[in-house]
């Protein structure tokens, strides 16, 4: 059912408003930094407002359906259409993405990293915003791909221009890695286009329409489907990142400017897992079932491996980056169980990880700004020098290690729970082994995070910083951080807020998969 009236425009506005801001900013001379910041903030807030409008107008009784649906012609030659819409799976991620951007801009108000140039910096963030929002609403493979790739370039420049000392290496690595994945992914999309039979779904034979493909793709032979899934696995898996494709992540995170790290952790990584849930699983369920044990294996390796990697780090930001590998491992484990428990947990885990790791990177950025180092051995006594920041770091650490009552738990626990009984005849002994290993991973998670916290926050400040005045959390930081903190506390205390949204769509997804595997 297509949306009418303003509802028909709401999603498009959410996606393209940032570009309007970019146009305005292009017309303003570079020297007027305050004006640039103002325009960027207003634009992102307006985007957020449209996202909030979507949140409010969304019908929570029908989360399994695409709402705010727009379907108009776009590239007729290849039957690619401009189809956008949100359901219970994409709504939380869209909201997360729309909310993070203004907060990042606020955080950057006084923190535009070297070499300055607020205009270019903010324009890139706004373009990024369009790409992220667009990816979460696109319902056409080509449209999705365009947005997916649109994200890449601004991030490349954010890291490459405003990054740390090894920014060139890191940004190139990020770019090449993701591009490799994208290349394989588009091959898979094209294969779907040619091999799937859209007439089964009552449409044209060759289609990129994500709504039609689950049915259309039943025309593809099982062996071919496995290969097509493989291409998507590379595309999405590198973005997640799944072990062993994770090595771009620590470098990119470590070198990226604070805001870049936050956006990367909070939203960009989710594009990969979202792709699995939105595209790979429903369209190729049987291939997904064949891949699942291996994906789960890689996810579990990622959990343990990421944790071990964390334990070896001496740099705070790099440690947080490695912890992303472990956390996304839990998300992937949830997805690979192919159960509603696991997928619900995965979506919860995505949002939780976005919020929690986002705040951790924010704090790391602020620590770096104050101490000019992130060497854990040189830090210490943060609770003494900047008590409020120490508290926030502590709360975020606790959330990150999956403490119940905070959001992280609801991503981890149901994922572990789901692997006790995986869906669609997946091997129970295998997944139960994974379950135990993943549960052991939570010990390691507590280990590295508490170790980090003990070294940075507890104790007395080190001699070199004993006489340096370390400023506590300032107004901009409060404004940028509080929504994150409130969100992960509220979601942790009352998880139904999010499960309520995702559950209907996830149940439908599992139903689609069951139909695909059965047929």
């Amino acid at each position: 059912m297509e949306a009418t009236g303003f509802n028909a425009w709401a999603l498009s506005l959410t996606v393209f408003l940032p570009l309007a801001g970019v146009v305005v900013m292009l017309a303003i001379p570079r020297a007027q930094e305050e004006l640039h910041k103002g325009v960027a903030l207003v634009t992102s807030l307006a985007t957020l407002a449209t996202a909030v409008y979507v949140l409010v107008q969304f019908n929570y009784d029908r989360t399994s359906e695409l709402q705010f649906l727009v379907d108009s012609s776009w590239i007729d030659v290849i039957n690619s259409r401009y189809i956008i819409g949100v359901d219970g799976i994409s709504l939380p991620l869209l909201a997360l993405s729309a909310a993070v951007v203004p907060l990042c801009i606020i955080y950057s108000w006084k923190h535009i990293p070297d070499p300055g140039n607020a205009k270019a910096f903010l324009i890139l963030i706004l373009i990024l915003s369009t790409g992220m929002n667009g990816s979460f609403v696109a319902q056409d493979l080509i449209l999705f791909f365009v947005f997916f790739e649109l994200v890449l370039l601004p991030m490349y420049f954010l890291i490459g221009v405003w990054g740390g000392p090894q920014r060139k290496y890191a940004s190139l690595k990020f770019f090449l890695f993701t591009l490799l994945g994208s290349a394989l992914m588009i091959v898979s999309f094209v294969a779907l286009y040619f091999l799937a039979d859209g007439t089964l779904a009552g449409g044209q034979a060759n289609t990129f329409d994500m709504r039609a493909l689950p049915v259309a793709a039943t025309a593809i032979s099982s062996t071919t489907a496995v290969w097509i899934f493989g291409g998507m696995f590379m595309g999405f898996g590198i973005k997640v990142p799944i072990f062993p494709f994770h090595t771009w992540l620590p470098d990119a995170h470590t070198q990226a400017p604070t805001v870049g790290s936050v956006l990367l952790a909070a939203v960009l990584l989710k594009l990969g897992t979202y792709g699995f849930v939105r595209i790979a699983l429903p369209i190729l369920p049987d291939a997904a079932r064949q891949w699942a044990p291996y994906i789960a294996l890689l996810a579990v390796i990622g959990i343990i491996y990421g944790a071990l990697g964390c334990l070896a780090q001496s740099d705070m930001k790099r440690l947080i980056a490695f912890s992303s590998v472990a956390h996304m491992g839990f998300v992937m484990l949830g997805i690979s169980t192919l159960t509603s428990f696991g997928i619900n947990a995965a979506i919860f885990g995505m949002v939780a990880h976005g919020l929690i790791t986002g705040i951790l990177f924010f704090v790391a950025g602020s620590v770096k700004e104050r101490y000019h180092t992130l060497e854990i051995s040189r830090l210490g006594g943060l609770l003494k020098s900047a008590p409020r920041m120490g508290w926030i770091l502590g709360l975020a650490t606790m959330a990150s290690l999956g403490l119940p009552g905070l959001a992280g738990f609801w991503g981890e626990f149901p994922a572990i729970l789901a692997s006790y009984n995986p869906g669609f005849g997946l091997s129970q002994p295998l997944f139960r082994t994974y379950m135990v290993i993943a549960a052991l991973g939570t010990i390691l998670a507590a280990g590295y995070l508490l170790w980090l916290y003990q070294r940075t926050a507890f104790g007395e400040p080190k001699a070199e910083f004993a006489d340096v005045a370390i400023a506590d959390v300032n107004v901009y930081e409060w404004v940028a951080w509080l929504p994150f903190i409130l969100a992960f506390v509220v979601l942790g205390v009352y998880p139904q807020l999010l499960f309520h949204v995702t559950d209907g769509a996830v149940v439908k997804l599992v139903g689609t998969m069951a139909a695909g595997i059965g047929g």
Partner: protein, 720 residues
Amino acid sequence: MLENAYLIPLLPGLSFLAILLFGKRIKGGQGAHYIGVPVLAVVWVLSLVAVFGWINRVDDVTPATEAGATTHETAAAGVGTAGDPASPVVLAAEGETGAEAGHEAVAQPVIRSATWWSNAGENFRIGTLVDGLSVTLLFVVSTVSLLVHIYSIEYVRGDERYTHYYAFLSFFSAAMLFFVLSQNIIQMIVGWELVGVSSFVLIGHWWESLDNSNAAMKAFMTNRVGDVGLLVGMIILYFAAGSFEVPVINEMAASGQIRHLLLLAAAGSLTAAVMSKSGQFPLHTWLPDAMAGPTPVSALIHAATMVVAGVYMVARLYPVFYEGYSIGTSSINGLALLGGFTAFMAAALAFVQWDIKKVLAYSTISQLGYMVMALGVGAWTAAIFHLFTHALFKACLFLGAGSVSHASHHTFDMREMGGLRKVMPHTYKTFVLASLALAGVFPLAGFWSKDEILVGAMRGQQSGYPLMLFFGLLVAFMTAAYMTRVIWYTFWGEYRGHGTPHESPALITGPLWILAGGAVLGGLVNLPSAVADKIGLGGAAHLIETYAEPVRYLDQFSTFSVAAPSLGLALTGLALALGGILAVYLYYWRRLGPHGLTEQSVWARRGYTFLVNKYYLDHLYTGIIARGVRGPVAQAAYWVNQNVIDRIVNLVGESARETGRWVYTNIDQGVVDGTVNGLSSGAEATGEGLRVIQSGRVQQYGSLLFGAAAVLAIIFTIVI
């Protein structure tokens, strides 16, 4: 109150927020107790209301045996008033089956719940479950917590993080009460971990020192190890029973609808959680270290309440353990063995400690082992009774130790104490009373609860548990002995420390006296029927048996019952306790010469005259048993503790880090990253090579062009 029990954890939770946000503004950061204490007082009153509410509920139901159905309607209606449409359905259904089967009418637990999260259309709930067990714990937790709140006003006064201290005291109370009222196992996990984190924060209260933060880390990490067992066990239970709800799981487990293997796996996994939280061997090592925290915290968290979470969990899910470990039909099982061995091992360790709090910590481990053992032999009521009395007298002991330290320049080393009984009469008297209760001397609280455990071990279910009885008696003796030693070093002899010790103010001695009163009278809560009737207390004197036992509302769970007391065993236990006291007393008397003899107190003289052949016993106890236990056995156990178990924990931590470092340097940076870098440098090298060709000379280009064309032409001719 039974329906509105959610208020009980909610209030301290709100007080946590209030203190955190506004505490610093009250009296310059020294007035957080103006929020904390009144809130806890309200919580205490509410808990009392809940206790009486539950007693009334059971009383209302029990007489109506002839009209089971009516009673069930009452019960269902009682829950229905809670205004939640979903839970009464479950309960009513249970009630009906009970009525159809013609069972005796019983009071159903009061459940009130709301949707918490959902999956695949199924709503999982959060709520409160009030029954005899949870009101018992409510009373214990709120009482000790209130007293600790009051005590801390004086004890923590002037601390730079006074507000944070009170905030987390409230937070802990909220988390513990939340845990106690858990209606489902997810809630139990949540509460379980939240008390863990408040323990972490409070152990590390003085985080400036590395030792303290290490202790806090160790506590949290050890508990995390157990949490894995908790998660796995609860997940198995969920899939076995198809529900997270505690009553459903208990029903299913008790009625044999779950395969025994699954129950065994679940019980085994959950036992790992008990090991860490309740300090059972071999995961107990964090508890003595946790004494780095402020003493009132040790009293509240690491003696009276949080550490019994494991015991409570076993009691709450008892059918799982009962069936899983085959408690009804075995004469030895994992749970009982774990508890018995822990009790013995920790008691032996308590002899070689010089830090008064560590003696008490090992004593706590030992007593927790006692409770676990009681659960392992099927003596459910005895375990809960002991949990109740232990909370009172052990909190009193810890607070007494705090008072001693507060008065004498903040040391906990007994070698720097001595002779304090004169300057600190209140602390001394309460400490002695609590010690006697711990030692199990008639007629104090510990005697009754310990006796019930011993009876439970002797009678067992279908057969007795002889080994557990032996452990129980042995530990009874050792407990009395090491507590006597503590009293000797702390309160007797000459003062060996610095400065002038003085009695603590009323804010400290007040709670001490209240708890000491509990230590004396706590036994009245659950006297054996025979004794109670004789002294005219009747039914009022076995409250736990009457109102808390699960047999009252779990129909299927009828194999389990309270064993009849045995006079002979009671006397043996008492004799061993007194013997322990006497032995240690004589030991110190021998070492200090005749002078010590004049300073003996009433209780020592009574034990002295009770034994006929004192010289022989003196030789036996001091020369062989006491010295033997204090010397090689305890030293060996402590050596194992420090050098084997602790070492393993440290080694695991270190090697995990080493592995991490190795994997990182060799595999991550070398292989995985190397491959990636190799690809790009390969591309670069190729580019370098090709660069040479581009010389800029047209003729060279031309040569290449024609050469290549020639090669292609040759291939073309050959192929075609």
